[in-house]
Symmetry: C2
Subunit: 211 residues, 2 copies
DNA sequence: TTTTGTGAACTAGTTCACAGCT
DNA sequence: AGCTGTGAACTAGTTCACAAAA
């Protein structure tokens, strides 16, 4: 299972939620592909890997497939998230409505600055001392850490998260992290994203036509 | 040129900056690969595509290669960025130190809520009326838009950005955008990222060993 | 008839391995 | 001797196209 595939599963889930809210009960890979600009064969292949969810001649039952996808993605249980770094970005992520909507629970923000500890985010996420990370991870069953600290302390904080038993990290700090093999890191590198866009601007190579 | 390649070019640039700050003047693809967990052949191939920057028997001159990379990535000129959506995330991005550091200039935040217009972010980025987007894009030569609005208005705001002459969009809103062929969109989908991590937690399939 | 599930074909991306330059 | 630049080999990912099921 590649990461590209798991990303797509999440996209499919979102599409199905959209369709369900429109009252659509059944959908073919073809129509799903057309509506959301995906490839029908790829949808079928991705789904077929996990079971025979479709009905030939009919397509997929939206509600059923949604349930299956949630189960495959491990979203059929409460997932608690700790946000490490109570800076601007950490705060914004703590209050990001999308996370709660999708069933993630932001357990707390963590920081090492004493004056921040004890405060809380706009939506009420408490800021705790990073020294208590391990304790809270154990107590509340936190399974995902979102790393939103400056690049200079990212590795150190990641090490702490790993030592606390965290097995999944969403890393917003620049650069890559060194973690054990059983810990999964997903990076969101804002500088790389912008610089990559800059490249495309400089080379105007999107949809080059004749010549 | 694939997006994977342009992302790597940005990573190489960061690595070189790191090396330069350590006073290292010359580096081989091998040692670059070892230090930053990359593949030496890939580094050489990526770079060789744009010219013969290396010296056989020596490696690459850090300063020279850095300059070349900045030029290839289009970072050798001022790039102005508009942030669309002055919510939590928009604010955090406006003040994100990494952007300024890398030479991007945040021209303004834009919002449609009248009470926000006229205020400014902690670091002094002004909030302007989104109705003035086109005017400001032209006047200040804004070339990149960062989309940080709710999913429900993302497409509409993207359309506005495109109509204003923007050719590159970094999209933090969930879902994909429909834009003309000459506009490049890069998505950062927080929900997809977290759900993908959830999958890996549920299947513990990182570094599966015996069996 | 419609649409799935899937082997086969294809396309893209990565790594190897070495000739050739310094 | 050391290291680049690069064709060739390999690996991963996508799309096609069709037999089989409803």
């Amino acid at each position: 299972m590649s990461e590209l595939t798991t990303n797509r599963l999440s996209v499919y889930l979102r599409c199905l939620t959209e369709l369900e809210s429109q009252g659509i009960r059944t959908v073919s890979s073809q129509s799903l592909a057309e509506q959301f600009h995906l490839n029908a064969a790829q949808i079928r292949k991705d789904l077929a890997y996990f079971g025979e969810f479709g009905v030939r001649g009919v397509g997929y039952y939206v509600r059923d497939l949604k349930r299956h996808l949630r189960q495959i993605l491990g979203l059929d249980r409460r997932l608690r998230v700790a946000i490490l770094g109570a800076g601007n970005l950490g705060f914004a992520l703590a209050d990001y409505p999308g996370f709660r909507q999708e069933g993630f629970e932001i357990a707390a923000l963590f920081d090492n600055q004493r004056e921040k500890v004890g405060q809380q985010s706009r939506s009420g996420v408490p800021i705790l001392d990073i020294a208590d990370l391990r304790k809270v991870v154990k107590r509340d069953g936190v399974s995902i850490a979102v790393l939103a600290v400056p690049g200079s302390s990212a590795q150190q904080v990641a090490d702490l998260a790993v030592a606390s038993g965290i097995k999944a990290i969403l890393n917003f700090s620049p650069g890559s992290l060194q973690v054990p093999d059983d810990v999964k890191v997903k990076g969101v590198d804002l500088t790389v994203s912008l610089e990559s866009l800059s490249f495309f601007l400089a080379h105007g190579d999107v949809a080059e036509q004749t010549e």
